[in-house]
């Protein structure tokens, strides 16, 4: 039972991550490999505040949202000057730099030694410690994020995002402040990802920089794409499938020395396969195909 709950909690966390990245990549069409950085910053802020200041969970989450949002803006701003494919590389650079900071600023983040003993959340007097309680917490957060995302994509704001995705020049010609929209979607995406980070940190009670690497970013973007870019349910589906699939491997009795590699091979193969035969993912609407590519 605990095992099942554990899987569901992980799925919940990845649903939040993929929904937030979907807004940036699937709805606005900006491929970003920096998402694990927002995730990580959220986790570290929540953890450090809980450990060093003893502040309550909600306060920590709010701070995580603010700081991650700022980082999101920082990443979003260059998107205006840097062309699409080069921008992917730029997000890559942000990801690596953020990881370096988390890993090397040892006096503040404990670097590679990580932060153990993160206190579990206490919300309005209720202690969240058992798997069931965490599932409820993560579930509520995931639902809130989903509703927020749906609000966004169905609003005029969301329509502009999609317009930017389809033809940025046209959107500019129509008088939209494309710059502001891009930065804003990054801020929102980063803020949501940081919530996932706070949940992760307080659930596992231990974090270190190795959970927030480029590979993690690639995993999250894989969820978005395989689930379906441009479709919120796609992110839910993608998260469920990509979290469950390697767990199913355990049942086949693979020794752990092999399991990690096989899991990665499955992700990589799925990515290639979907690109080949179904770039819109399971139920997506966007295939990263642009009309006028040079």
């Amino acid at each position: 039972m605990d095992y099942l709950l554990h899987i569901l909690i992980l799925i919940g966390i990845y649903v939040i991550l993929s929904l937030s990245l979907n807004l940036i990549a699937g709805y606005t069409g900006i491929l970003s490999i920096a998402h694990a950085a927002f995730y990580g910053v959220g986790a570290y802020v929540a953890a450090l505040m809980a450990l060093k200041l003893g502040t309550p969970f909600l306060a920590n989450v709010i701070c995580a949202i603010i700081l991650s949002g700022l980082l999101g803006a920082l990443v979003g701003i260059p998107s205006l000057r840097i062309r699409d494919d080069y921008f992917v590389i730029a997000t890559f650079a942000f990801q690596v730099i953020t990881f370096s900071v988390l890993n090397n600023w040892v006096s503040f983040t404990s670097g590679p030694m990580g932060l153990p003993g993160i206190p579990q959340p206490r919300i309005f007097g209720l202690q969240v410690s058992s798997h069931w309680q965490f599932l409820v917490l993560v579930g509520i957060c995931a639902i809130l994020v989903f509703l927020a995302a749906r609000r966004i994509v169905e609003s005029p704001f969301g329509r502009v995002l999609k317009a930017i995705r389809e033809d940025e020049v046209f959107a500019l010609a129509a008088g939209k402040n494309v710059a502001a929209y891009k930065v804003l979607v990054f801020v929102i995406g980063a803020a949501m990802a940081s919530v996932a980070g706070a949940l992760y940190a307080t659930y596992i009670t231990f974090i270190d920089p190795t959970s927030f690497t480029v590979m993690e970013s690639i995993f999250i973007i894989s969820i978005v794409i395989i689930g379906g870019a441009g479709n919120l349910w796609g992110s839910v589906l993608g998260a469920a499938v990509l979290v469950i699939l390697p767990e199913a491997l355990r049942f086949v009795g693979l020794p752990s020395s092999v399991a990690a590699n096989v899991r990665q091979i499955i992700y990589g193969a799925l990515l290639v396969a979907f690109m080949m035969w179904r770039p819109q993912g399971f139920i997506g609407e966007y295939t990263f195909r642009k009309g006028d590519q040079g």
Partner: protein
Amino acid sequence: MENRNLKGNRISRSLGSILILFAIGFSMAGCEQPFPARDEQTPAVKRSFLKKLLGAKKPSKPGLPDPLVLGAVLELTGPGAPYGQWSKKGLDLAVDDLKAKGVNVRLIIEDGQSDPKMAVAAYTKLATVDKVPVVITTTISGSVMACAPIAERNQVILFAPGSSSPEITKAGDYVFRNRISGIYETEKAAELAYKQLGITRMVMLLVNNDFGLSYGDAFQKIYEQAGGAIVAKDTFASGATDFRVQLTKLKALEYKGIFLVGQVAECGYVLKQAKELGIKTQWISTIGVENSKLIEIAGDAAEGLIYTAPRYELDDMGTSGFEQKYFERFQEHSNLYAANSYDALNLLVNAIRSAGYTGAGIKDALYKTKDYPGVSGLTTFDANGDVVKPVVLKMVKGGKFVSYEAAK
């Protein structure tokens, strides 16, 4: 886009396939504990897995359970694998010896993968799903530190037969180890450098994790107190193979010795590349280097390296019987990690039999342990759950690891 009309169908189709995946996955469940992947081939029981899935409770009958179920998190893969494997061998021997005496012990072993995250997941699972009262944790120090809060919170003993970080001393009431804290090794190393070899200026090159950084801090404190000067300190990532940048920085400085802390492969490459760069100095390190892989990688660049080690002699009283049994079974010489693990299991079983199958009971019994005659020497736990045992100096000479006193 025509997708929209079919969206509903697609969703239900996809959700359907998820459910099928779920069903296949769980019906394939031959293994008992599907949490972090299993390596131990314990009898697979479908029924008890389903019981666990639905939340079976621990048996509430009085008296000790038979077999005694204990947990273990060992590094079976990753840079820490040599130590985890040795530990496993020691534990296997202990289980068999106990069985011969009529005491049945079952160890549930998980792989820590030399990664604190994995160790935390494994430890949590053992503590909360398998509900064992003690987890033998032969992992890198970082993993021990990460699991310690969980031990405290769940009142499950964390027993570390191989972890050296001085940080572990203060890690908690439920944390024990029968390997000495690295602080004694660094004391010996500092004494060697300053007093015996007359080295007054040194540089530190450390692996960037709990192990390296805590040893470095401890060494620096003691060495500087004695009057020495640490001229520079640099770090490298765990698992790195290219140290030219660090070594080049060091080359330009004035010093007569380098304190090197790292896992065996890393140290090997450091020594090799240092020689290639023309660095000639006295290398001082820790027992982490005592592995044939060092010579494989560094060749004669390792000659003259002096390192500290908790004392473990194959022909000591108490050790020799163990060494014989170990050699017979595994065709290799025993070492500290195997011996400590062997002792660990016996210590814990004794504690359970005197104080009951609970974390709190075992804890009290362990603190009362005095001069337990184990294969690794007499064991007494101090108020921090640490032990004090002798430290010796060894060196690399002629491609072999020999006693420093004898060889110098």
